[in-house]
Symmetry: C2
Amino acid sequence: MNRTHANRPIGIFDSGIGGLTVLREIARLLPREDLIYLGDTARFPYGSKSSHAIIQCALECARFLMEQQIKMLIIACNTASAHALEMLQETLPVPVVGIIQPGFKVLMETTRSQRVAILATQGTIASNVYQNLIRQHYPMACVFPIACPLFAPLAEEHLFDHPAADLIAAHYLQSLNTANIDAVLLACTHYPLLRNAIQKALPPSVKIVEPAQSCAEQVRSWLTASEMQNLQEQGRHQFLATDHTERFAALAKTFLGREIDLHRIVLQT
Amino acid sequence: MNRTHANRPIGIFDSGIGGLTVLREIARLLPREDLIYLGDTARFPYGSKSSHAIIQCALECARFLMEQQIKMLIIACNTASAHALEMLQETLPVPVVGIIQPGFKVLMETTRSQRVAILATQGTIASNVYQNLIRQHYPMACVFPIACPLFAPLAEEHLFDHPAADLIAAHYLQSLNTANIDAVLLACTHYPLLRNAIQKALPPSVKIVEPAQSCAEQVRSWLTASEMQNLQEQGRHQFLATDHTERFAALAKTFLGREIDLHRIVLQT
């Protein structure tokens, strides 16, 4: 990898479509970069799979993107970051950025009391990745991890502002009302869409943060430090998925805020 | 296949854990039969996969069960039945029973007006399998197919009796209030768990039916007609899955009504 590789694209993968919220932040902060997004929609969701299965999926996505000559890999999926980041960092010849470290960073910069909650899929919560990271750096912190398996399906059903979303948010978050937290991390790419319902279920003083912007900043730092920025006028974005339905195309619009062409590809297993 | 094979087990497979609702009915009606259940949890859900991928998954599950010397195969998954039943019936040397035909049968035996609704996953609804079957036999019938993607996650979250389940059922089923239907088929193994919420969202005169019992009756008919019943005192049940997590074990209890040992197996691909 050297300066001549600076014009190569950045690869981003996610278990599905939600990672487009991360791509959006990267595109905003780094508009000159070429981006290739791969959503493993054929095997969505990763959240309920075992660690073994998630690692296998992540490896196949990473291999495909490496064949596209990427200069950097971003794992936009919390579950895949939790289980496969280390393995991919050890295996791949390019830098690999997960979504956990950026989420951890913005959460701990936001809290004053070090009493925080993590909202995520069951897979991410069960991996203990955020809990361990926080305890390692902030041994006196108090972490409330909450799995919210219905948030992603609710987001995908466009029921963000439906009363059912409020009831389900209240159901998941009721234990936080007496937890005296001051910050909550949305540790799943789908959850920002439910931000209103989540805020209503929490004491108004609690701040809600998400990792996408912090992740984009980390990418920019690395590109700058290693002089690997693409200097072209305007980056191109390519959108790939392992399965394609009209629903995925519609969801892409919800998450990205604009229409895209989603191309189906086949992964080597 | 002859009478000496009557002591062989019956194989049942599903994309996940929901098919245990079918196993439960079979075990109730045929308590002397040995049953082997295979949940393809590593690749759950089938609903969003392509027809090609679903057929491949179904073939691998069927092959594994054939190696266990089963005398009959039951596809307890609506999506797999919709896409792979015919192929398996043509390929396998044992009878293969799907879940579509039994559902169709009980629904059309229940309706008087031939105005009916089908509640199912997006994959099952998109396959048009129920709609085609009904129109083929009842050309004057009026079918209302409704995809309910949040029902399965709600069931898996044990929120059957939560007000959110009522709101979401009302959201999906509101169009049925003026449809003058008299019967509804729960064409997904998860939906019977939400029966109360679904009933509340429908006019009280509407009857709700499900295929599991009808499927079990079809199995019994075949066993009787071919004199292949197992005559032992009490059948044994074996539970296998392609991925194993604590959550699957907990879900198994919800769907089956009792604790089970779920063993992980690896399918030949």
